[in-house]
């Protein structure tokens, strides 16, 4: 008997992701991978998977799924409003960051994330996903990944691996980063910008616009004036780079970024603050704070220490 989830509603942008597909950027293939590593990690921990197991990532509105088959241990991580509806139609509010058992005919309705963008859905034993170049991450733009490289669609079936153990439910408590300060290091072309713009960048607020997705986050705020050159020779791009195109409005390049690009970069988001950044919803205001490599590296140690607590 096969076991699967039937997709009754796919959600806005639901894709399978893991930690990313590496070693191919020189061929034009970006790493992709989960946007929020901490939540991804937690979703796997909750069901007892290895922490790199592929999970279903959703943004804002998640999917409505119906289980067909044997009971399974699952979890939803993030700040998420979701409901579990059993086959008799009884509805129960779901608790995120705590694993639970679903049975044949149960529906999981992931209604929305709360004051955040991304959340994860995981299952004990993992989903049945085909690895492509060592990863089950999805890059929709190039149709690379499981599910034919596409996001979830209505009537898709999500098969999963049966686990030998039944697993134990588990709860993880943790604090979400909610402040609006994003720490950055100076970018390669920081000196291209006028003194005033350099100051503005670190003192003014920037608003997250609706033109934001897994590829990049477009910001709106004080225009940044480039006094050297609006284009540079195309160069490799790093996740978290903040580029300033001709219109002077920043774009933070996120997990599905193009592999090379020709806009000057004013700054780079430090690894420890990346998860916090990607969770900023449309309309949120953020502020950038300049730090150096020493601070960035020690902040990373604090960030990683959180993972080891669960």
């Amino acid at each position: 008997m096969s076991n699967y989830f039937k997709v009754l509603r796919p959600g806005i942008n639901s894709t399978f992701q893991d930690l990313g597909r590496f070693g191919l950027q020189h061929l034009g293939i970006v790493a992709s991978g989960c946007m929020d590593q901490l939540l991804f990690y937690i979703s796997n921990k909750l069901v007892g998977n290895k922490v790199s197991e592929g999970a279903l990532e959703f943004a804002y509105q998640g999917p409505l799924l119906e289980l067909v088959g044997e009971s399974a241990l699952v979890a939803v991580s993030g700040k998420v409003n979701f409901k579990v509806i059993n086959k008799n139609g009884e509805t129960k509010q779901g608790t995120p960051n705590e694993s639970f058992i679903v049975s044949n005919g149960d529906k999981i309705d992931i209604l929305s994330t709360i004051n955040s963008v991304y959340g994860y859905f995981s299952i004990l034993g993992g989903f049945e996903l085909k690895e492509i170049k060592g990863s089950v991450s999805t890059l929709v733009r190039a149709k690379i990944g499981p599910n034919n490289g596409d996001k979830l669609k209505p009537d898709d079936k999500i098969f999963f691996n049966r686990s030998n153990s039944t697993g134990e439910t588990k709860k993880i408590e943790f604090d979400f980063d909610t402040d609006n300060t994003i720490r950055v290091m100076k970018g390669l072309q920081f000196d291209y910008f006028s003194k005033k713009s350099q100051e503005d960048f670190f003192s003014k607020e920037y608003k997250v616009t609706r033109l934001t997705d897994r590829m990049g986050m477009r910001l709106e705020g004080e225009k940044l004036e480039n006094t050297v050159s609006k284009n540079i020779k195309s160069e490799g791009i790093t996740k978290g780079s903040i580029q300033i195109p001709g219109d002077g409005q920043p774009i933070v390049l996120l997990s599905d970024h193009p592999t090379i690009g020709g806009y000057p970069k004013i700054a780079n988001v430090i690894t420890a603050d990346y998860d916090k950044l990607v969770q900023k919803t449309q309309g949120s205001k953020i502020k950038f704070k300049l730090v150096d490599l020493v601070v960035a590296e020690s902040s990373f140690q604090d960030y990683i220490a959180r993972f080891n607590n669960f």
Binding site: G20, F22, G23, L24, Q25, H26, L27, G28, I29, A31, I132, K133, R141, A142, I144, V184, M185, G187, L188, K233, S234, E235, G236, I237, T238, K239, G240, S241, P258, T259, I260, G261, K265, N268, V269, I270, T271, L293, A296, E297, F300, I304
Partner: protein
């Protein structure tokens, strides 16, 4: 020569080979790229996630939990990769191209602009050994150079909304091949039936940075009967 190594945030470094965009500079970039790739494959260095060459830079991304920028910079400075030769690693690839007017959308304009005949343009393109400077923006898209000087031309004023996969375009001293249908502003001079990129193949990309490309003219009939392996 490697001029400068700088940090890009806390999990990347850039190796800068100067401001020139030419084959000589790019070959130095590719040498370091080959060296890093080999060092990763032979596990001489850990924690490297990606290494991306462009015209004059190599960007290296790494896993901060496994290695720090200081260690990578020391590793590069302490090695003598520049002695390697490119020909050991890189290959010559023949790419079929059909210059039929159905596909050579911009060749009429190029004739007017360059004062060369269609045949002269084609011959100049065919007689060039192109160097693969870099691959990217989208998967598998190569940036080849250098074009014959007489064919140098600006980007289209208004980019096309859709350029078909396999289209071969030129801008300034570069030539590219579209590996996906996409918008674009390059002057299109022909089409190749060869699939340069296929994620499901072991060799995902036919070309690698540092390879040499020679175009081979084919007829419209050859184009339609061409079978990718």
């Amino acid at each position: 020569m490697l001029k400068k190594i700088s940090n890009i945030g806390d999990c990347g470094i850039t190796c800068d080979f100067g401001d020139e965009v030419n084959k000589k500079t790019n070959k130095e970039v590719i040498k370091l790229f080959n060296f890093i790739q080999e060092s990763v494959n032979s596990k001489k260095i850990k924690g490297i996630l990606n290494y991306t060459p462009s015209y004059n830079k190599l960007i290296i991304n790494f896993e901060l939990g496994k290695i720090k920028s200081k260690e990578i910079i020391e590793f590069i400075k302490g090695s003598d990769y520049s002695k390697t030769t490119l020909s050991e690693k890189n290959k010559i690839v023949e790419i079929p191209i059909c210059y039929d007017e159905e596909f050579a959308l911009d060749i009429k304009r190029l004739e007017e602009k360059t004062k060369l005949s269609f045949k002269e343009i084609v011959n100049k393109h065919l007689n060039t050994d192109f160097f693969v400077y870099m691959i990217g923006f989208v998967p598998g898209q190569p940036f080849l150079g250098d074009l014959n000087k007489n064919l140098y031309h600006d980007r289209l004023d208004t980019p096309r909304v859709k350029i078909k996969k396999g289209s071969v375009g030129i801008v300034e001293k570069f030539c590219t091949i579209y590996t996906f249908e996409s918008p674009g502003g390059w002057n299109i001079i022909g089409k190749t039936p060869l699939d340069l990129f296929n994620i499901n193949k072991k060799n995902t990309s036919v070309l690698s940075p540092g390879d040499t490309v020679k175009f081979k003219s084919i007829t419209k009939r050859d184009l339609s009967s061409f079978k990718n392996e």
